[in-house]
């Protein structure tokens, strides 16, 4: 027995150390630390990857950047917890003290703020990249769904975090944002009051949002990130980029992950850390006066990522703008990979040469039509007055929605019948059209709406107060 187990001669500490290190460990420290790092990396990445997927202008490094931002948000978030009081009105005072009394407190808050906003942008760009290269289709449809759920969690994290500074900006953005819920038929009011912990945004709301922000949302996001990375490997890695006329690559040339991918990822991450820190030094996160439930600022805007919905609210009855359209959009996202499932153009941006023209056309048309419609509706259309006696949910809601749907259906018919478009091309056209519409709505909401939510040119914007 004793010659089969020489451990018995060693101290308990040596035995424990030996159990924790795999056999065949090199003897010098440098090689040992290298081995630990490599095995860690190879838990996340496969050992070898197709050389083509390293092409930077294919993935734009968006997934990796999102993962980096989540890591930075957790790091700065944990540190911020030590200097934050989640009660009203002390929350606001703790932000003030973070800015003036805590060493590097302001910088920490700025990094957290800008990383959170950037994460939302990067997640959306990642989604667009995946769609336009056809990476959402089978066998990757489940991972697309995980991705959409993660986008919703990121929205939730941003929205709950928005309230925490307890300033006027936070208070009214959350008031306007949660008021949208009241338009859910029958149960909307109850859901809102549960979420707010009372009849209005108050200390109870702050505590509810804080709890979600630091526990449920990050935990769910971690779980889904793990699933998302795992599925990337199980689904055969990234889609392999090819030029528009190339046939699918049967046996792609492979290179080792270490160092080819790791070196690129490290440079990318370090560059972005530098950019974010530099940006956070230059631009402080916004902070207005302490929350005052008696005084609504003019204009009162929702957080910027909900400005598209708020712009819709100026054109549609709230039930249509805040409930019907977002629900349809979500349904669209979840069913997309099951409708658009032909995998032939995988790895080609915008599917084909024709696809590129169609996408460009959709983007141009959407830019013109959406802007024109916003302007015309703002100045000339007044359904509620013209159709007096109709319930406004019809005259100002479902009627204009039906008109918009008919216009989209006509465009789709033109692509299908007039241009002989395939299902894949029709989906590409519609998706591009609607994505650009959302961008136009959001940009007009953020930059072109002033006091009284009137339209102004950004350079002629009257001051808010």
């Amino acid at each position: 027995m004793s010659d089969r187990d020489p451990d018995i001669e060693q101290s308990g500490f040596d035995r424990a150390r030996k159990r924790l290190t795999p056999p065949g460990v090199p003897t010098d420290d440098r090689a040992r630390s290298r081995m630990v790092l490599d095995t860690l990396i190879l838990h996340l990445h496969p050992a070898r990857i197709p050389a083509r997927t390293l092409k930077w202008t294919y993935t734009w490094g968006l997934g990796g950047l999102a993962a980096l931002l989540v890591t930075m948000l957790v790091g700065t978030g944990v540190l911020l917890l030590a200097n934050y009081t989640p009660t009203a009105p002390d929350a606001y005072l703790s932000i003030l003290s973070l800015r003036s009394d805590v060493w590097f407190g302001e910088l920490l808050r700025n990094i957290h703020h800008w990383s959170a906003n950037l994460l939302l942008v990067v997640a959306v760009l990642h989604l667009l990249r995946v769609f336009f290269t056809g990476a959402h289709r089978p066998p990757r449809e489940v991972n697309w769904i995980f991705g959409v759920v993660m986008l919703l969690l990121i929205l939730g994290a941003n929205f709950t975090g928005y309230l925490l500074p307890w300033d006027q900006l936070a208070y009214w953005a959350i008031t306007v944002g949660t008021s949208l819920i009241t338009y859910i038929p029958l149960v909307g009011g109850n859901i809102e009051s549960l979420l707010l912990g009372g009849p209005e945004v108050s200390g109870a709301t702050l505590l509810n949002f804080y709890a979600f922000h630091i526990s449920f949302i990050p935990l769910s996001l971690f779980a889904l990130m793990a699933l998302h990375f795992w599925r990337v490997r199980k689904d055969g890695g990234l889609t392999i980029p090819r030029t528009v006329d190339e046939q699918p690559i049967e046996r792609p040339e492979r290179v080792t992950t270490i160092p080819h991918l790791i070196r690129r990822e490290t440079v990318w991450a370090l560059a972005w850390i530098a950019i974010i820190i530099g940006f956070s030094v230059a631009f402080p996160a916004p902070l207005e006066g302490i929350a005052d439930p008696m005084v609504s600022p003019n204009p009162a805007k929702a957080p910027w990522y909900f400005m598209g919905i708020q712009e819709l609210l100026l054109h549609f009855h709230p039930f249509v703008a805040a409930i019907v359209i977002p629900t349809l959009a979500l349904l669209g996202f979840f069913t997309l990979p099951f409708i658009d499932h032909a995998s032939e153009h995988e790895g080609i941006y915008f599917r084909s040469r024709r696809g590129r023209s169609l996408a460009a056309m959709a983007a141009g048309l959407s830019l013109v039509l959406t802007s024109a419609w916003i302007f015309v509706d703002d100045r000339y259309l007044d359904w509620a007055t013209w159709l007096e006696g109709w319930p406004t949910v019809l005259s100002n809601g479902f009627l204009p929605l039906a008109i918009a749907v008919v216009i989209l259906a006509l465009l789709d018919m033109w692509i299908e019948k007039g241009l002989g478009g395939t299902l894949e091309e029709r989906v590409l056209f519609l998706f591009t059209f609607l994505a650009v519409s959302l961008v136009v709505l959001t940009i007009i909401g953020i930059f072109f709406r002033g006091p009284g939510m009137e339209l102004f040119w950004p350079w002629a914007m009257p001051s808010a107060h």
């Binding site: 009214w172 009372g198 009849p199 609504s296 100026l314 709230p318």
Partner: protein, 169 residues
């Protein structure tokens, strides 16, 4: 396998065998537990109210403090107390029915004008200008010993102003 086969006559045969019974019982108990947990969660998440805060019964003041034809902001109750020309009282929630902004009373224009999306309401809370979809919500008013009491825990939404909504001393 030393059990003797038992002869089962049709009248002896149970309506439901043991396996199915346990299965359905399991589902029923599981459903009951889910409902219980849901109810407990719902109860746990209910708002907690303090006396004198918004959500409880608020004393706005004495009847004679409010001249006819006036609108007074009672801030801790989050409402405006309107006294109509004929002496009737209305307690209007300060919250815009569009997206929840606090609506200030504009004495010069004799209107409530919402700063967020320019909804306008008259002193009875009726909509003069959309996008607000319905008049300002009401809280029930009662007059006790010459004091105006407003129950801010009960919000009444309505489609238009009706003189019967006013309360008289």
């Amino acid at each position: 396998m030393n059990e003797q086969p038992i002869e089962i006559t049709p009248e002896d045969e149970p309506a439901i065998d043991r396996r199915s019974f346990l299965k359905y019982a399991g589902i029923a108990i599981g459903a009951l537990a889910a409902v219980e947990l849901g109810a407990i969660g719902f109860g746990y998440a209910q708002p907690r109210l303090a006396e004198g805060d918004f959500g409880s019964v608020i004393t706005a003041g004495a009847v004679d403090d409010f001249p006819p034809g006036s609108v007074t902001h009672i801030t801790n109750g989050r409402f405006y107390l309107t006294r109509l020309e004929d002496g009737g009282f209305l307690a209007l929630h300060q919250r815009c029915t569009h997206l929840g902004c606090t609506v200030p009373w504009d004495q010069a224009a004799n209107q409530f004008i919402c700063p967020c999306h320019n909804s306008q309401f008259d002193d009875t809370g009726e909509v003069l200008n959309p996008p607000a979809p319905r008049p300002l919500d009401l809280f029930p008013v009662s007059i006790e010993d010459g004091s105006v009491m407003v129950d801010t825990g009960t919000k009444i939404s309505r489609d238009d102003f009706d003189p019967s909504q006013a309360v008289y001393a």
